[in-house]
């Protein structure tokens, strides 16, 4: 019974992880400029990786390795926004004008 629930949960987490990673990839393709792409490239990915890691932790079960996956998640949470910020700031300082509604797609 417990195992069934656990496997179910793992499947749900993997599916959610895949979903958000998919959204992230779609966003990178569909969104118009570097700023809006930086949003989705980092952020939707954070949740995608988050759910995937949660699934990993559940699969492994309680122990040092599960703790490590939580730590991994922590580091993703620190590094991801930092990277997104670096990209966006680089674009801003280069003088890239953010796309607004009504502009041509670049």
């Amino acid at each position: 019974m417990i195992t069934t629930v656990r496997i179910g949960l793992i499947a749900v987490f993997v599916a959610l992880g895949l979903f958000f990673t998919f959204v992230s990839a779609t966003g990178v393709i569909r969104l118009p400029d570097v700023f809006s792409r930086a949003h989705t490239a980092s952020q939707a990915d954070t949740l995608g990786a988050g759910f995937a890691l949660a699934a990993v932790a559940l699969t492994i079960g309680w122990g040092p390795t599960a703790v490590k996956t939580v730590l991994l998640l922590f580091f993703i949470f620190v590094t991801n926004p930092t990277a997104a910020h670096a990209i966006a700031r680089a674009a801003y300082e280069e003088g890239v004008e953010p796309w607004t509604k009504g502009d041509e797609r670049r």
Binding site: F19, F20, V23, T26, G27, R30, L31, P32, D33, F35, S36, A38, H39, T40, S42, Q43, A44, T46, L47, G63, P64, V67, K68, L71, F77, V78, N80, P81, T82, A84, H85, A88, R89, A91, Y92, E93, G95, P98, W99, T100, K101, G102
Partner: protein, 381 residues
């Protein structure tokens, strides 16, 4: 006659302490002029672009504008000193737009060459002078210049408190805290597995604490405050996760929507959290929440790119700001009006005509004015 010593070269770039540097340099030149020298001051802007590069016109314009500004300041100083204006000669120049400059060495070579051509013997450097972008790289530049035949001096200015030196001195409290944290981290990674890990852990933590304790803290951790902060940080995490999930769903819906109903705008929000770690926490939390992305943090002003109105509203409601204040300063500090109520929000790109403007223009109208008194209230935490 002009002795080489009396000529001063000052590399300029926009910085918080540039005004003071100009003041110092002119004062110094006036002193020398009073001693009978004809003092010459050259303000030079070192180009970070090449004249052939596309878009370099705008860069050049910016540099020229800055030099004009500097000249005006220098003029003020001279007027104030009330001496013959021709005792001090001011020149400005943009140099180095024919090459790409990579290292402090390149900059130093260029400045030296210019100084030699114009018979200048002394460099005065603005302590906040930066070579590229916003990284302060004064030390390596000064080192390179010192290798050459120029007398070098750093202008004695009051540094703005917002950015101290990256490296500060270590203290026992910092050392022990970092040692403990690294030790704990090491043990977690090793799964608390016995004596071997304990010994290697101590060795590793010692190395980490010795090398990094002088850069890891802004101020000493204390037994009374720091644990509370960590604890409040732990409370903050679930809330942040909740925010991330909610906004992720909103953004996911927008992205997957065939109409792609986005309305991106660059916004500016003035926030009231301490500079340094609290500000970093807030900026990163904002970035972590889908739909908002911190593009630039200029002191307490955050330039945030927002993808959809929902995210923008959330940002202006200031929930994250309140939480960060809670984490760092406790529950009292969290009772704080939202940026919208304070009038500290601004949409930098005006909403188009086709969109009703959500009451933001009013916020723009009085933005930044009525709150100027609060500037000092928070201070540097």
């Amino acid at each position: 006659m002009t002795t080489p010593e009396s000529g001063i070269i000052v590399p300029v770039k926009r910085s918080a302490t540039l005004r003071q540097t100009v003041g110092y340099v002119i004062g110094d030149a006036l002193d020398r002029a009073a001693d009978g020298d004809v003092a010459v001051v050259h303000f030079v802007s070192v180009a970070s672009w090449r004249a052939e590069d596309p878009g370099s016109d705008r860069e050049r314009q910016r540099a020229v504008d800055l030099l004009e500004q500097v000249e005006t300041w220098a003029g003020f100083e001279l007027d104030e000193a009330d001496t013959d204006s021709d005792t001090v000669t001011i020149e400005t120049a943009v140099i180095g737009d024919t090459d790409y400059l990579f290292s402090p060495e390149d900059y130093a070579d260029l400045l030296t060459e210019y100084a030699e051509q114009h018979g200048l013997g002394r460099v005065v450097v603005d302590p906040e002078y930066s070579l590229v972008g916003h990284t302060t790289l004064v030390e390596p530049l000064e080192f390179e210049l010192a290798q050459r035949d120029l007398a070098i001096e750093e202008a004695p200015v009051d540094r703005p408190t917002r950015r101290g030196r990256l490296v500060s001195r270590t203290t026992p409290a910092r050392f022990l805290t970092l040692f403990g944290t690294s030790m704990l981290f090491y043990q977690v990674l090793g799964g608390f597995s016995g004596l071997f890990d304990l010994v290697t852990g101590v060795a590793t933590a010692l190395i980490v604490a010795t090398t990094l304790s002088s850069v890891s803290f802004y101020r000493d951790p204390t037994l009374r405050e720091s644990p509370k902060r960590v604890l409040r940080g732990v409370i903050y995490v679930p809330y942040l996760l909740y925010e991330i999930v909610v906004s992720n769903l909103v953004v996911a819906r927008v992205i997957l929507d065939p109409r792609l109903d986005i309305d991106p705008r660059l916004t500016k929000v003035r926030v009231f959290v301490g500079s340094g770690f609290p500000l970093t926490t807030l900026a990163n939390s904002i970035t972590l929440t889908p739909g908002t992305l911190t593009v630039k943090a200029d002191d307490q002003e955050l330039y945030v790119h927002s993808l959809v109105p929902f995210a923008r509203e959330g940002l202006f409601d200031g929930a994250l700001e309140r939480w960060v204040r809670f984490v760092f300063y406790g529950r009292e500090a969290a009772r704080f009006p939202s940026p919208r109520d304070r009038g500290d929000t601004e949409v930098l790109q005006d909403p188009g005509v086709d969109e009703p403007a959500n009451g933001e223009p009013e916020a723009v109208a009085d933005g930044g004015v009525d709150c100027s008194g609060d500037d000092t209230q928070e201070g540097d935490q």
